[in-house]
């Protein structure tokens, strides 16, 4: 793996070079109090805080609203028009290791045969530049799910911040190519293996392993515990929408008598209507059963199907839950290991 250094004050030049090469740079920035990945031109607009950016990167690969096709009725005929997605080359800058690992999970879902055309197109144009975590925040629990603040999963380039410069690890060829866009900005450098970097891992508290809880959780399917842990869930979509790996969607038609669009929108398993059948029957009729679905999907079902954990331990769901439901604590409680 090649290693370079990049002076912090040259990041702006690198961004300019990337843009000149026809690439759009997406980095976390603040707009009216909201931190989100946005295309930016000006490096001073970048806002990186400890911990993951509240709004996940997934919206750039899997947008909240995607038109699939549109149609019009004219003169007794239907004109169908497929939606064209035009994507520039994009560079996702300053993702966290949990974000990058999450993208790998989304790849598993959307790129497996047959691949989702929209996702595939966007994914193939995306290069991921991850920033390792020098500091964790209380909500982080990536070690519990087999990741770490210096994990390289899903990254093309891995950056580690030092006083006035970044250590740049070329994790993939795609990442290397990004460096080659402006090679004179990057000095060849030396550095420890990423897992030897001075990461905050030893000081993180939330490390109880949650990687092999699938069977135990499934065994608890009929348990009354789900009532206890799940009844305070209000059924909003914050956890799923802010989760970097959640990818459920709803296909809806929006139309009048003359024209319409069919689109794919984000959906959340916590919504009461998520599993409502046309017959009126709902197999998950109450909030505790819906919360159970969330936990099992994250820690059991996905593991079973894809041999990967679906949770990357970013902690966003727990931090932003309106009623403070902490999935880490809850899984511990369910598997008999209460720490609080």
């Amino acid at each position: 793996m090649k290693i370079w250094t990049l002076q912090k004050k040259r990041v702006g030049d690198w961004m300019a070079a990337l843009r000149a090469a026809g690439k759009e740079v997406l980095a976390p920035c603040e707009a009216d109090g909201l931190l989100r990945f946005r295309p930016i031109d000006d490096p001073s607009a970048i806002a990186v805080r400890p911990g993951p950016c509240p709004f996940p990167f997934k919206e750039w690969l899997f947008p909240p609203h995607q038109v699939l096709f549109s149609y019009q009725f004219e003169g007794g005929k239907v004109n169908l028009r497929e939606e064209e997605v035009l994507v520039n080359d994009q560079v996702g800058l300053f993702l966290r290791p949990c974000d990058a690992a999450a993208i790998k999970i989304l790849d598993t879902v959307f790129l497996s045969d047959p691949p989702d055309g929209f996702y595939q197109l966007r994914r193939s144009h995306l290069t991921i530049v991850t920033l390792g975590c020098r500091q964790a925040v209380p909500s982080c629990f990536c070690p519990a799910v087999g990741l770490s603040p210096t994990s390289l999963e899903g990254s093309d380039l891995f950056l580690w911040e030092e006083d006035d410069r970044f250590l740049v690890y070329g994790v993939s060829e795609k990442g290397d190519r990004l460096v080659q866009v402006s090679p004179d900005l990057f000095e060849p450098g030396e550095g420890p293996e990423p897992d030897q970097l001075p990461s905050p891992l030893p000081f993180m508290e939330r490390k109880e392993p949650l990687t092999n809880v699938g069977q135990k959780l499934q065994g608890l399917f009929e348990s009354d515990l789900w009532q206890e842990v799940g009844r305070t869930c209000l059924g909003c979509g914050i956890c799923a929408y802010l989760c970097p790996t959640c990818h459920c969607f709803d296909i809806v038609d929006e139309s009048d008598a003359y024209s319409g669009i069919r689109c794919r929108n984000w959906d959340c398993c916590a919504f009461p209507l998520f599993t409502l059948h046309a017959s009126g029957h709902n197999p998950r009729p109450d909030q505790p059963s819906r919360y159970r679905q969330r936990v099992l999907h994250k820690f059991a079902y996905f593991l079973q199907t894809f041999q990967q954990n679906m949770c990357v331990g970013c902690g966003r769901c727990s931090l932003f839950c309106p009623v403070g439901m902490d999935i880490y604590q809850i899984v511990l409680q369910l598997t008999g290991r209460c720490l609080v």
């Binding site: 009048d256 008598a257 003359y258």
Partner: protein, 659 residues
Amino acid sequence: MARIGVFVCHCGENIARTVRVKELAQKAAQIPGVVHSEDYIYMCSEPGQKKVRDAIQQKKLTGVVVAACSPQLHELTFRKACQEAGLNPYLCEMANIREQCSWVHTDREKATQKAYEHLRYIVEKVRRNRPLRPIPVPITPRVLVIGGGIAGIQAALDIADGGVPVTLVERQPSIGGNMARLSETFPTLDCAQCILTPKMVSVRQHPNIELLTYSEVEDVKGFVGNFQVTIKKKPRYVDEDLCTGCGDCAPACPSAVPNEFDRNLSWRKAIYIPFPQAVPPVYTLDPQACLNGPKLFPLACERCYQACGPKAINFNDRPKIIERKVGAIIVATGYELLNADYVKELGYGLYPDVMDGLEFERLLSASGPTGGEVVRPSDHKVPKTVVFIQCVGSRNPANGVPYCSRICCMYTAKHALLYKHKVPEGKAFIFYMDIRAGGKGYEEFIQRVMEQERITYIRGAVSKVYGLNGKLMVQGVDTLSGQRLEVAADLVVLATAMVGANSSDLVQKLRLAVDRYGFGQEAHPKLRPVETLSAGIFLAGVAQAPKDIPDTVAQASAAAGKALALVAQKTLEREPTVASVNEFTCVGCFECQKVCPYGAIERKEIRDRAGNLLKVVSTVNTGVCNGCGACVVACRNKSMDLAGFSEEQIFASLAAVTV
């Protein structure tokens, strides 16, 4: 699949001159769901209607749109044509391209485009129309009349004469109401009792009238055509069948209380008959006045029982509950006089010689406490100077009621005239603000009173009445001369305001809309003066608004006519464009119930098979719903919908006119 037929009318040149009708018909054929489209010169003519009927049958149409004049004109015409051809009439609508298009625009392009978009909206609407049938509501052929005054009596007689059974409920021991208290009536000076009692007797004798006196309506359930009424007959303690009205009991009774019929100007016994001509002519025992106390037992005094020949007195009487099913209800509960605080300045309640109009009627009445002699209640002397004050409380928003009580000018004039006839040497003064004498013969009556009877009319208000040396000093003003003046009167009569006598209990039970003065709300002030907003409930007499006897009788007959029209049908057919609830999604907030002006929304419990209550939802009584749709707008999650103007229809219409 929709199979809509479109018919574009030229209306001669009225539409065709501005809207390109042939082009319109051709474009209409392209609208999804339209399988037949033609234009014709006069669609409302017989050949035009035949085209509609033929197309329905030949092309098996599921809906018809006639683009022509306003539906307010011909919707019924075309709906009938459709019905004749076998298509449900509610699947036919009209697109207004004349009154709202060709007649008001000149630009042919724009008018044609507008006509097309409008036509398209109606096609979208018709596609989503459901076949509807008028809702049949069975009708119980009986009418309840609440209130046995002249209005209730007249209404009951009219309905009974029409062959329909009537239950007449009166809370007093006798029918007759306030009119029975009157001496003579204006402008003819008929004796009130003389014209009233024959009607009262007719009521008693009429085979179709069930007379329940000393009774009150306890509860009313149901809706138009199907009311279930619970009536409580209060215990008289006298058997109505045995009592002969001989009157031997009253002199034997040792207990006397003020006589309400005489407005407390005389006494009656605990066992009494309100007035000699009472109907039914039986006595009533008032337990509140009886020496035995309200519970009657243990019996200490039985003198009435002992005096009674037919042994009609029954101390063990109990209230009876009577249930009746009726198809219509007439509310004829009459009025009271409002003697509120404001009359204190005029001495009412302070001086016994200051009285209101009804009290003076009792003085004038030959069957009253003084046998028709006008004497002062205080010392029984004949008053030589009587002051009448009009508009006491009426026309006074700040300190009374804002409206005019309508009859006071006339009865005051009558009072003054009768007084002068009885006390020719007496002086009568009338303080007035205006004179309202709109009825037949009224103006002439007033003129007679003013000119011939030598009664002094003073235009001005009275500020105060106070006692001084045995006289009542009436302080007022004469606006025509600008002078303040004071009249030393022996007797003062106040024409106080009329208010409705509706008790709040009754109002609630009937869900009757009543204003703050107790008058019932009519359905439309000009066009529907005897109907209320509750279907099947009608108003008659002063219960609706202040009025005199001729108007009361007229209105009573009108209400009777309405009630007869209602119950004459076996079933009532109501427009089916009513609201309906999706019980699956209703969350029971009852915002709909709060906004419905007709009380058509009721609560319904939804239970599971084990009987456990799952939730309470709204349900629409289609017999009462008028189809306004306020409930649909009030419903936040749109569990409510309205047939004929449904959510889906409007949604589709909006696209049709904007795109």
